[in-house]
């Protein structure tokens, strides 16, 4: 009995070894092949997870930053990355992902995307897991309430329900600054938060200013306070991917230079 088992196992191990060696052998070839072609002439300037394509992850929808218009990624983030991809000579591909995967670095580390463009504030905590490009937007938080509400400032939130988004700067700001008996309700995204305040399930929303401004457009809601956090939005890349950071920063600088940035800023955040 034992001998039969050992013999079986031995056969198995031997087979496995042969197969592993075969696999290793075949593994080597394409890798040498690709490194050879990489040094060739007119390839795209940066290495991406899918050659010739810039894959961007974003938590969509997040107007006015991240919006899908049919199959086109637009909004402030969307238009910017479209320009950046153009400048780098890459095709743009967009993946809609949950925000916590984006801000924790999971999506980047698992090679789902090259770049995160999702209205993400550059924070020290996030920089432990991600690398950021230069900032492209000064982030401000704000408080949205139904028009005519008693709530006029963050102090008035005592005993009230305030909606925030999972994993955001707005949530952290609320936890630090709202009165201790304010009830903080966390939602996965702005879509649910907006539904909740429309249904009266929460009394206020604390989140990024531009998003609250879009909600205030129809007059049902108003922005009663804004909070400057002194922070900026940045695009994020996998830690250590300096090649892509440099390339994107170069493109951002060029866009600021030739006026495209100002044109887009005016398009989305015009204050008149």
């Amino acid at each position: 009995m034992t001998t039969r088992l050992t013999r079986t196992l031995a056969t198995g191990a031997a087979l496995a070894l042969t197969l592993t060696m075969a696999a290793c052998g075949s593994d080597d070839e394409p890798s040498t092949g690709s490194s050879g072609s990489g040094s060739g002439g007119d390839e795209p300037t940066v290495q991406t997870i899918n050659e010739g394509t810039l894959t961007v992850c974003s938590d969509i929808p997040y107007p006015p930053f991240d919006v899908m218009d049919g199959a086109t990624f637009t909004g402030f983030d969307g238009d910017l990355v479209n320009e950046i991809a153009d400048g780098l000579g890459l095709e743009l591909e967009v993946r809609d992902s949950g925000f916590d995967g984006l801000q924790s670095g999971l999506s980047l580390n698992s090679n789902q995307c090259d770049l995160v463009a999702s209205a993400m504030t550059i924070t020290d905590a996030r920089e432990e897991n991600l690398d950021f490009t230069d900032g492209y937007y000064d982030s401000e938080q704000s408080l949205l309430v139904p028009t005519g509400s008693d709530i006029q400032s963050i102090e008035d939130l005592a005993g009230k329900k305030v909606g925030v988004q999972q994993g955001t700067t707005g949530k952290a700001y609320t936890e630090e600054n709202a009165p201790s008996d304010a009830e903080i309700i966390t939602f996965p995204s702005d879509a649910e938060m907006y539904s909740a305040i429309k249904g009266g399930s929460v009394d206020a929303l604390l989140q990024d200013l531009p998003v609250n401004i879009t909600h205030a457009e129809d007059g049902q809601f108003e922005v009663v306070e804004t909070y400057s956090t002194g922070e900026e939005y940045g695009f994020a890349v996998k830690q250590g991917n300096t090649e892509l950071i440099d390339a994107v920063n170069e493109q951002l600088a060029a866009l600021r230079e030739d006026g495209t940035y100002d044109k887009l800023y005016e398009k989305y955040f015009s204050t008149e």
């Binding site: 039969r4 013999r7 079986t8 196992l9 031995a10 056969t11 198995g12 191990a13 031997a14 087979l15 496995a16 197969l19 592993t20 696999a23 916590d100 801000q103 924790s104 670095g105 999971l106 580390n109 905590a125 996030r126 432990e128 897991n129 329900k161 909606g163 999972q166 994993g167 949530k171 009830e183 903080i184 309700i185 966390t186 939602f187 996965p188 649910e192 938060m193 539904s195 909740a196 429309k198 249904g199 009266g200 399930s201 929460v202």
Partner: protein
């Protein structure tokens, strides 16, 4: 080639593929990245004891309420489906078909977000109340069908014997048919229970207060605050800690029943 040799070679090949798969997984995985992202012991220790006192506790409480609420409703629905009165049957069939055909996620959103907008009315119990009501409604539709199958599997002779002993129709259902039906459907009901444990994680979609976070939401929150993905693994372990003893208990119960038959 002798038959035994060939057999041994075949078997060896199967073992070989298995060993190869394991070796490949171990070699291909980036262990440093895995350890850093998912097995950071310091982060895991920081989750204690809230992962149990908030996360696991809420998961269990939400599941228990949804399960027993759903089961009570399911008994009524199953009996309605088998009722000789037409309208009862139609109503139960429509209810079951409707809620069995919808994703739990949509029903939760409808209860938690759409109903307050449509009727300017807040369901009692706030977000958790609305979410649990949705889970009860969905799970009762599934469990009603399971129960119906169980009731129909009770031999007809049982009812006939009870009736000929002078028991009323109601009494026969309650003390003869239902107990035997439940015994038959314990395995599929366990399945439903385990599914519900996991479905409670969907409640976070309609908003969740600090103290009402169940395991998944708790872990996702912790991923943000610790900037590390270890809490996801911790939550996975907690789910197994909850489900495995439960499924073991039920299979032990089943074995005992087999003997009793």
């Amino acid at each position: 080639m002798r038959r035994t040799t060939r057999k041994r070679l075949n078997l060896g090949l199967l073992y070989g593929v298995f060993v190869l798969a394991v070796v490949a997984l171990v070699l291909l995985a980036d262990w440093e990245a895995i350890n850093k992202n998912f097995f950071d012991w310091e982060v895991a220790k920081g989750l204690w004891p809230e992962i149990v006192t908030i996360g696991a506790k809420n998961t269990v409480v939400f599941t228990l309420i949804s399960f027993f609420g759903g089961l009570a409703l399911a008994v009524v629905l199953a009996l309605m489906r088998l009722s000789p009165v037409g309208p009862y049957r139609w109503l139960a069939t429509a209810y079951i078909e409707f809620f069995r055909g919808l994703p739990a996620l949509l029903v939760i959103v409808a209860f938690g977000l759409a109903i307050p907008i449509a009727f300017s009315w807040q369901p009692p119990g706030g977000f958790v109340g609305a979410g649990i009501a949705a889970l009860i409604v969905v799970s009762s539709a599934y469990m009603a069908e399971t129960l119906r199958a169980g009731i129909q599997a009770v031999p007809k002779g049982q009812t006939e014997a009870a009736r000929s002993l002078g028991m009323s129709a109601g009494r026969t259902t309650v003390s003869i048919v239902l107990p035997q039906a439940f015994r038959i459907v314990i395995p599929p009901l366990t399945n439903e229970f385990v599914l519900l444990i996991k479905d409670t994680s969907l409640l976070a979609l309609i908003g969740v207060a600090f103290g009402d976070r169940e395991l998944t939401t708790f872990a996702r929150d912790a991923v943000v605050s610790t900037t590390n993905s270890t809490p996801l693994i911790a939550a996975a372990v907690m789910y197994l800690v909850i489900t495995l003893p439960l499924t073991q208990l039920v299979s032990a119960l089943e074995r005992r029943q087999q003997k009793a038959r």
